[in-house]
C-alpha cells in the first residue's frame, strides 16, 4: 500500500465514522435523498420495468381519465391519462430518462471542464486565472436562462444540444471551487517537493492537487444536479427542450396547462416529479457538505 493509498483509506474510514456521529436529521436527509435519486435513476435506465404502458401511444378513447381508472381491458391507470389518452404514470417514469440524462451528462461534462479550468487557474495563476475568474463572475451576474432560451430557440433542441446548454451553465461552480482548493493546496510542502524533483504540471495537478479538491467537488455535484435538472425542465416547459412525443416532465406540464380545468392530475404529477428530484439533489448536496466539508456551509 502506497502512502497516498493509505491516505485514501484513512479518508474513507474517517468518512464512515463521521457518518455514525452525525445528527439523525443529516443521516435521514442523506438516506432519503439517496433513495429518491436512486429511484429516479432506475426509472431513467429501465423505464419499461416500471411503466405499464408505452408512453407515446395515443388512445383517444381513453382521454383524460382520472387517477386509478380501470379501462375496458382491465388495465389500471394509476395516475390517470392525458389529453391523448396516454398513461400519466408511464409518462412520468419515462420522463425521468430525458431529465436525468440531460442532468447527469451535462453535470459530468460541466464538472470535467470546470474542474480542469479551476485547477489550472488556481495552480498557474496569472492571465489565465484572471480571465477565467472574470468569465465566472460574468456568469454569476448574468441570467443564464436568457442565453439558454436564445440558444435553444435559435440553434435547436435535440438532446445533444440540450446537454451542451446545460453543461455550459454547469461548469461555473466547479471551476470556482476547484480554483479555490487548488490555490490553497499549491503552497503545501509536498507540492513544492514535487516541483523540486521536476514533476510536470500535469502530474502535479493529477496526483497532488486534484485529490485534495475531490470532496468539495462532490459537494458541488449535489447542488448542481438539481440546478441543471431545473434548467432542463424550464426549457422543456417553454417548448424549447425535449420535443414531443418523447415524454419529458417540463413538456408534460406545458401540455397540461390547457386542460387545468378538466384534468388536474396531468399538471400535478410531472411537477411533483421535478420537485422531488430537485429537492433530493439539494438535500444530497446539503448532507454531503455536512459529512465532508462543513466549512462550506453558507457558501452554496
Amino acid at each position: 500500500m502506497t502512502l497516498s493509498e493509505q491516505g485514501q483509506m484513512r479518508a474513507m474510514t474517517h468518512w464512515l465514522v463521521s457518518f455514525k456521529r452525525k445528527p439523525l436529521a443529516t443521516n435521514v436527509a442523506f438516506a432519503f435523498s439517496a433513495a429518491l435519486l436512486a429511484l429516479f435513476t432506475f426509472f431513467a435506465i429501465w423505464p419499461q420495468v416500471v411503466a405499464p404502458y408505452d408512453p407515446t401511444i395515443n388512445s383517444l378513447g381513453l382521454r383524460h381519465k382520472p387517477p386509478a381508472y380501470v379501462d375496458a381491458n382491465g388495465g389500471m391507470h394509476l395516475l390517470g391519462t392525458d389529453h391523448m389518452g396516454r398513461d400519466v404514470w408511464s409518462r412520468v417514469v419515462w420522463g425521468a430518462r430525458a431529465s436525468m440524462t440531460v442532468g447527469y451528462v451535462g453535470l459530468f461534462l460541466g464538472a470535467l471542464v470546470g474542474v480542469l479550468i479551476g485547477l489550472v487557474a488556481g495552480y498557474r495563476g496569472g492571465w489565465f486565472d484572471s480571465i477565467a475568474m472574470r468569465v465566472v463572475d460574468a456568469y454569476l451576474s448574468f441570467p443564464y436562462i436568457l442565453i439558454a432560451i436564445v440558444w435553444a430557440a435559435l440553434i435547436g433542441t435535440d438532446i445533444q444540444n440540450l446537454i451542451l446548454i446545460v453543461a455550459v451553465r454547469g461548469w461555473v461552480e466547479f471551476a470556482r471551487v476547484a480554483r479555490g482548493q487548488s490555490l490553497a493546496v499549491r503552497e503545501r510542502d509536498y507540492v513544492t517537493a514535487a516541483q523540486a524533483i521536476g514533476a510536470k504540471t500535469g502530474r502535479i495537478l493529477w496526483r497532488y492537487i486534484l485529490p485534495n479538491t475531490l470532496t468539495s467537488i462532490l459537494v458541488v455535484t449535489g447542488f448542481q444536479l438539481g440546478r441543471l435538472i431545473l434548467l432542463e425542465g424550464t426549457l422543456s416547459f417553454l417548448g424549447m427542450g425535449i420535443r414531443p412525443p418523447t415524454p419529458a416532465w417540463g413538456s408534460m406540464l406545458s401540455d397540461a396547462r390547457n386542460y387545468l380545468a378538466s384534468a388536474w392530475w396531468t399538471a400535478l404529477f410531472p411537477g411533483a416529479a421535478i420537485s422531488l428530484v430537485v429537492m433530493a439533489a439539494s438535500f444530497m448536496g446539503d448532507s454531503l457538505r455536512d459529512y465532508l466539508d462543513p466549512t462550506m456551509r453558507g457558501r452554496f
Binding site: S141, P143, I145, L146, L154, L230, L253, A267, I274, S275
Partner: protein, 304 residues
C-alpha cells in the same frame, strides 16, 4: 472606493457586450432572415437583393455594429412581425415586467418579515417547523409548477382570480407565484439572522438593564437582522425579473417574458435578441448597484 466602482462598472459593461455578441452570433447561426422574409417562389436574385437591403452581405462585425447602433437609437431595425422599432416595443413590455417584479418584491418582504420573526421567536414550535418544511420544499418547486398549482386552486377550483390578462386582480396570481420563492428565501434568512442577533452580547446587556422585551426585539435585534435581508432583497430583484420570463407566458401577463417567448415561436429573432440584451442590462445594472451599495456599507467587500 472609486477604483472598486470603476472596476465593477467596466466589468458589467464588458459582460453586457460579451452577451450581446453571443446572442448576435446565435441569431446569425439560426439561419438567413432574408430567406424567411421573402416569398418562397422568389428567385436567387431576389434573395441577394433582400440580403443587400438588410445588410446581410456585409462582414459580420459590421453587421453587429449596425444592429447595435440601430437598436440603441431605437431606429430602423424593424422586428419581423411588429411594424415598429424594436427598442420602444421592448421597453414598453419591460414596464409591465417591472411592475410585476416590484410588486412581488414588496409583497414578499411584507410577508416574510413577520413570518421570519415569528419563526425565530417561537423557535421549535409547530408553526416554525411547518414554515421551514414549506420553505425547503418551496425552493425545489419549479416556478411554472407553482404557477399552475395556484391557477388550479384559485382560478379553477375556487374562481377567485382571473387566469390571464392585465389588471389589479390579474397581477395577484403571477405575483404570488414569484413571491412564493422570495418569501421562502427571505424568511429563512431573516429567521437565522434574528437568531444570531438574539444571542449577541448587546441583547443580553439590553435585557440586563431592564429594557422591556418588545423594545429589545425592535431596537436591538430587529434593526441588526434587517440589513442582510435588505441586501438579499436587492439581489433577488434580478431573480424576479428572470422568474417573470417563465411565469408571464403562463398568465399571459404581457411583459418582457411574454413578448420574448412568443417571439421565439414566431421566429421573430430580433425581438428575442433585443429582449435578452435589455433584460441583461437591467439585471447586470441591479447587481452592480447592490454590489456598490454593499461596498459602501461594508468596506471588507471591496478588496475581494
Amino acid at each position: 472606493m472609486y477604483r472598486f466602482i470603476v472596476q465593477r462598472t467596466l466589468q458589467s459593461i464588458l459582460t453586457v457586450i460579451a452577451v450581446s455578441i453571443i446572442v448576435f452570433l446565435f441569431m446569425q447561426a439560426a439561419g438567413d432572415p432574408a430567406a424567411l422574409l421573402i416569398p418562397e417562389e422568389a428567385t436567387k436574385e431576389d434573395l441577394a437583393l433582400m440580403r443587400a437591403k438588410l445588410g446581410l452581405d456585409r462582414p459580420l462585425h459590421e453587421q453587429y455594429f449596425h444592429f447595435m447602433g440601430n437598436f440603441w437609437r431605437g431606429e430602423t431595425i424593424k422586428s419581423f412581425r411588429y411594424y415598429q422599432p424594436l427598442l420602444p416595443l421592448i421597453l414598453d413590455s419591460l414596464r409591465l415586467t417591472l411592475v410585476l417584479a416590484g410588486g412581488s418584491l414588496i409583497a414578499s418582504v411584507l410577508i416574510a418579515v413577520p413570518l421570519g420573526t415569528f419563526a425565530a421567536l417561537k423557535r421549535g414550535s409547530t408553526l416554525d417547523v411547518l414554515l421551514r418544511v414549506i420553505a425547503v420544499f418551496g425552493q425545489s418547486m419549479p416556478s411554472f409548477w407553482v404557477a399552475m398549482l395556484l391557477m388550479l386552486f384559485f382560478a379553477v377550483q375556487l374562481p377567485i382570480f382571473p387566469v390571464s390578462g392585465v389588471g389589479l386582480a390579474n397581477i395577484i396570481l403571477p405575483g404570488a407565484t414569484l413571491s412564493f420563492f422570495q418569501i421562502a428565501i427571505l424568511m429563512r434568512l431573516f429567521r437565522s439572522e434574528l437568531l444570531d442577533a438574539l444571542h449577541e452580547d448587546y441583547v443580553r446587556t439590553a435585557r440586563a438593564k431592564g429594557l422591556q422585551e418588545p423594545k429589545v426585539i425592535y431596537r436591538h435585534v430587529f434593526k441588526n437582522a434587517f440589513l442582510p435581508v435588505l441586501t438579499m432583497t436587492g439581489l433577488q430583484l434580478s431573480n424576479l425579473v428572470l422568474g417573470a420570463v417563465v411565469v408571464e407566458p403562463i398568465f399571459a401577463w404581457p411583459g418582457l417574458g411574454y413578448l420574448m417567448v412568443n417571439s421565439v415561436f414566431q421566429r421573430d429573432y430580433p425581438v428575442v435578441v433585443g429582449g435578452t440584451i435589455i433584460a441583461g442590462v437591467i439585471v447586470t445594472a441591479v447587481n452592480l448597484i447592490v454590489d456598490i451599495l454593499y461596498g459602501v456599507l461594508d468596506p471588507r467587500i471591496r478588496i475581494a
